[in-house]
Homo-oligomer: 188 residues x 2
DNA sequence: ACCTGAACACCGTTCAAGT
DNA sequence: ACCTGAACACCGTTCAAGT
């Protein structure tokens, strides 16, 4: 005799986000998710293959949201302005959703990595900025320099790694300005 | 009646490194460490307060080794040459000891973070390079830009995040050259 | 068709008991 | 003084049994 579904994949993902943003990956247990959606742990396996699978769904979701935020920030037509806008949007996302940011860049695991297409809008935006500033030949190198710097800065900031004082906002703005100069400058 | 010690803190740390480099943080269990040093899990708590405490010891050790590698690479007197040497030493360390690198930059946890003094040699080397290139007023901002870029690049590389093809070594060299230009250039 | 209790193989950690 | 088995409170996951 069929039993009505007592939860859903969407409810599970929503509950997982709440727990993840509160207590991080290590706090995200199947037991806590089960309690949050009102079923017993074994029932979760009707919607999700494993805990790892659930994490993969969250990583994909986070990728999509980050890509959308970056894409929305670009498009002014001025690469200098776009660079600053994208960098600030990137950092703002990380500050607003630190755990989401963390799992996007922190999950080494092959099986948690979403499709390249999910990130395509963000990739395109950054590549276009880099091509405008550094020329099409150096677009990929330039984009990698931009993303590496932005990710390194934000992840160190979130990790509390900037411990020598000074103004962090100022350091971020400094980086944006000098990066634009560096990309636009001819190689020495 | 006293019993002779059957293991030591050094043996525990050495075993932990082997396990960590092989299977990462999640593979580092007290049970596996105990087996590796030839005691039962409860005995580990005579040398180490907790698993977290053991991880903290590893993080400290990794910090020291990374700082030493960076310090050794600098000191030519030429900031352009030093910048390249330090960047390559930094990347080489990450490639040679990916898990050690990972726990140095990846551990958000307050209680795992070692003393600032452990990193002092590396901080000094990078600050000195940045001061030479960008001037003393922008030394801290410049150093933060350098470290953010290097860490972002290497961590993305280790995570397999550069997925659009192209030559990664080339992108790294490109970054070094443009960073030097960017720091040495006057603000626009 | 979905949910559940019971079970299994793991964790980290504590502690009384052994030597 | 150090080591151990047993125990506790947790994990993720499977599966037969219930509705």
């Amino acid at each position: 005799m069929p039993t009505p579904a007592r939860t859903s994949l969407d409810a599970i993902i929503a509950a997982a986000w709440t727990i993840l943003e509160m207590d991080g990956l290590e706090g995200l247990t199947m037991q806590r998710v089960a309690v949050a959606v009102g079923v017993r742990p074994p029932s979760l396996y009707k919607r999700v293959r494993s805990r790892g699978d659930l994490v993969r769904l969250l990583v994909e979701d986070a990728h999509r949201r980050l890509a959308a935020a970056i894409d929305a920030a670009a498009g002014s037509g001025d690469p200098w302005r776009d660079l600053a806008a994208v960098a600030h949007a990137f950092r703002a996302f990380a500050h607003a959703h630190p755990r989401a940011y963390e799992i996007v860049f922190g999950s080494i695991r092959e099986d948690w990595r979403p499709d390249l297409a999910t990130l395509a809008p963000a990739n395109d935006a950054v590549l276009s900025i880099a091509a405008s500033l550094a020329g099409p030949d150096q677009a990929l190198n330039g984009a990698r320099m931009l993303v590496a710097w932005a990710h390194g800065f934000v992840s160190m900031e979130l990790a509390g790694a900037f411990r020598l004082g000074g103004d962090i906002d100022d350091a971020f703005t400094f980086g944006i300005e000098r990066l634009a100069v560096a990309l636009a400058a001819p190689a020495r």
